[in-house]
Symmetry: C2
Subunit: 476 residues, 2 copies
């Protein structure tokens, strides 16, 4: 994977890469320190640093702050799904009926929920949260006799701001507005920066919920390829805006759903710079931001565009980490903050207070970080097992993403397999999967699936994936 060449660092990188491929260095192994390796090989520290950087960029190793370099988890050598090519025609968005079916399927516990990006209740700290809720109700009996109109509960905004500051995004409570989950945050952000008919750049593949919102608002989408490991192709974006009147770009730099990709810092910096120069708003979907497996927290785009006049709007929620049913989310609207508050007044006026208070308390107590550590470990284990099962049972020609966090896999099936049909067939076998075309405004990815690994591994899960594998084999 690492090209050989004339330079010392290239040889060194190549050698290490082969050691990893052969299994001499295994996932999780710590690499020698930079100084140590420089000493052993009699090369400069700069050469080792450069070699490590190449391996890191190739996704083979990772840096853990204060710990050193480690070989990344790579369950299998299965190839990654391919990114699509650029296409420059803005599309009116129409998300198919599969979306509604997937949402409806969430209500049926008899179905295997590979289709929804939700995690099993057993992973969530419901007991602790419920205790907090009950305590609040006992202490403030009338807590829900009133509401907090937007911008919403101060204690929650304060806690969220505090967490964001730790990621490098300098925000205060006044920069935030609470929302009904991340969905309302995205919807308000889009409404604030664009109007019906306007062109938005989205990732390809994109989270289908965003396409659904864009459809509802009568806006148009133009797709920018996203790489399974590094996310949005910023060069492609830069090329595109030369010819297209793009009003805003919606992007998930940390763990794009469905890819699990992470945009490198230099790509983030480039995106913020380019959009600022061209006066294009950036809507940053950060709902997976806390779920990077190695526990690092990449700097949000917002950190690269500080100040109240920021052109980056940051959207977050606790739906992927704490309690989807709470519908607790937020948006930092940057220069559109006042407008977002006004739009929220008209969209839903206020969020329920009780759950906001419970979340604020959970964040303040430190319970959230302890919970996140356990959750990331569990999800990382799930992703490995699901990935291994797919790699070993699905037919040749299948490619699987290697997400760096979160809990979904992006699976490219052999050419010719129709994933919409597969979705229908699977549903008859009581298995829900998300078909690829959902993730595109133009119906791309007809032979792709998103598979959620939010359910703990079990014989039932294993049998379900096996059934899917046979279906794919028959269809290919």
């Amino acid at each position: 994977m690492v090209a050989t060449g004339g330079y010392l660092y290239e040889h060194l990188a190549d050698e290490l890469s082969q050691a990893i491929d052969r299994g001499a260095l295994r996932a999780g192994d710590r690499l020698p320190s930079v100084r140590q390796l420089a000493h052993e090989r009699s090369v400069s520290v700069a050469t080792v640093l450069e070699a490590y950087l190449r391996l890191e960029n190739a996704g083979m190793i990772e840096v853990r702050p204060k710990s050193g370099h480690f070989v990344r988890r790579r369950a299998l050598a299965t190839a990654e799904p391919r990114a699509p090519r650029v296409c420059v025609t803005p599309q009116k968005v129409t998300v198919g009926g599969a979306y509604t079916k997937i949402l409806a399927s969430m209500r049926d516990p008899e179905l295997l929920p590979f289709g929804c990006a939700t995690i099993d209740p057993s992973y969530l700290p419901m007991a602790a949260l419920n205790r907090t809720v009950i305590q609040i109700l006992r202490e403030i009996q009338t807590v829900e006799a009133r509401y907090e109109a937007a911008p919403g509960l101060l204690t929650l905004r304060r806690q969220v701001a505090r967490r964001l500051v730790a990621t490098g995004a300098v925000l205060g409570e006044d920069d935030l507005c609470t929302t009904i989950g991340g969905t309302e945050g995205l919807s308000l952000a889009l409404r604030a920066v664009a109007k019906p008919g306007d062109v938005l750049a989205v990732e390809s593949p994109a989270y289908f919920g965003i396409l659904q919102i864009i459809e509802g608002l009568g806006m148009r989408a133009i797709e920018i390829p996203a790489h399974p490991r590094n996310g949005l192709d910023v060069d492609g974006f830069e090329e595109l805006i030369k010819t297209q009147p793009v009003k805003a770009v919606v992007v998930s730099p940390t763990l794009l759903n469905p890819l699990g990709s992470i945009m490198p810092d230099d790509a983030r910096e480039q995106l913020v710079r380019v959009t600022k120069r061209h006066d294009i708003a950036v809507i940053e979907d950060d709902v997976y931001g806390e779920l990077v497996f190695d526990g690092t927290r990449p700097r949000p785009l917002r950190a690269f565009a500080p100040g109240p006049d920021s052109h980056v709007l940051l959207v977050g929620s606790v739906s992927k980490t704490l309690a989807p049913g709470y519908r607790v989310g937020w948006v930092a609207g940057g220069r559109w903050q006042d407008q977002i508050v006004r739009l929220k007044h008209g969209a839903s006026l206020a969020c329920p207070s009780l759950h906001g208070m419970a979340v604020a308390e959970f964040l303040a107590s430190g319970g959230y970080d302890r919970h996140l550590r356990r959750l990331r470990a569990a999800l990382s284990g799930n992703v490995d097992r699901y990935r291994e099962a797919i790699a070993t049972t699905f037919p040749d020609g299948t490619r699987v993403s290697q997400p760096r966090g979160g809990f979904v896999l992006w699976v490219e099936l052999p050419q010719g397999v129709d994933s919409l049909q597969l979705h229908e067939h699977a549903l008859r076998k009581r298995i829900v999967v998300a078909p690829g075309p959902l993730f595109s405004a133009r119906g791309r990815f007809s032979n792709f699936l998103r598979i959620s690994c939010g359910t703990p591994w079990s014989p039932r899960v294993e049998a379900g994936l096996d059934t899917l594998a046979r279906m794919v084999a028959r269809a290919s």
Copy 2:
């Protein structure tokens, strides 16, 4: 108030009306039965019926089912505020900063909340609701680990449908979608039936939240006069649509906020008929529907336009009766139901389940009806006291509405008093009032105030109204 004339029934009505005005018949008194009076006066039953109908239409008496005719509460003979004239230019809506200030003021318990249409927590059954919430959390610990995507919680939709059926609106659970309060219901309904730039007919005065939503959606509003007692002027509406391309009409037939008016059945029937003929959608805001003082429940417009293909969209919530902080509302989208569900997916995806479950249980238990009886009695008493205070302390030329339910008064101040200025002055004295121009897309009602009677009578309330009275006197 009742004109004399040549007919027997007119004389009879006139006589009774004078008896009421003189105090011989007092608020709450039962009138003789129709047969009894016919016998006493030696007139026909038809004549008495006609006389009673005239008094009823004049708002002086009311029918209580199975009990007979009663003199209506009329604290004072203060004149009613006047309805505005028709104006046929659609307006781009801009709601002023007073709106944001009023919402912000809700957070400060030190302020006298005459400005917000919210009721004091002491009127709400929070203890009972909290018990239900705690019980649900104990029985289903993971209730909030999942969410119910739109159309939302089945048990809640079923209970709401059941209550609506009792009002004459034949609806099933599938006809409903749960929303974040009535606000989201109105927003989704508007988005389903109209697009930016479209013209909507609204009442004048209108609930300012609706104007806020319309502003956010970039639609235009055209105002139809509403009468303090009978609400929307349907003849005026019919005249207007001859020349204006009205896409939809937003209307509160039962207890329009701020008037407390109730549209008579024939006006309801006429509105439904006319709109159907002209293919105009009707968005019915029914959030005050349960708060008619005499306990009657006028048939919603939706009852006049039955079937899944209905052109009437009904919006309701429990925010005015149970728990504003729950943000539990609903919309019956008629022929736009599927579209509303899709729009809800993009707007906020799902409502919190716990509160929906608690409300469903409260409705099913019969607790809601018991609570409503107490609540209506309390609010009716408040409205009478506030009204009396205003009538006796505000300067000559003040007119006050005589609401038939709810808890707000619409006060017309002497010509020349600037209610926006008054709002500012009052705020400095820690009193919040809602200035008239908020209730109009064209800044009408500059000498009107809405005063909420949701706070129990107390020396503080009395002093606050007194302060207002002096301010008005100085300004007039």
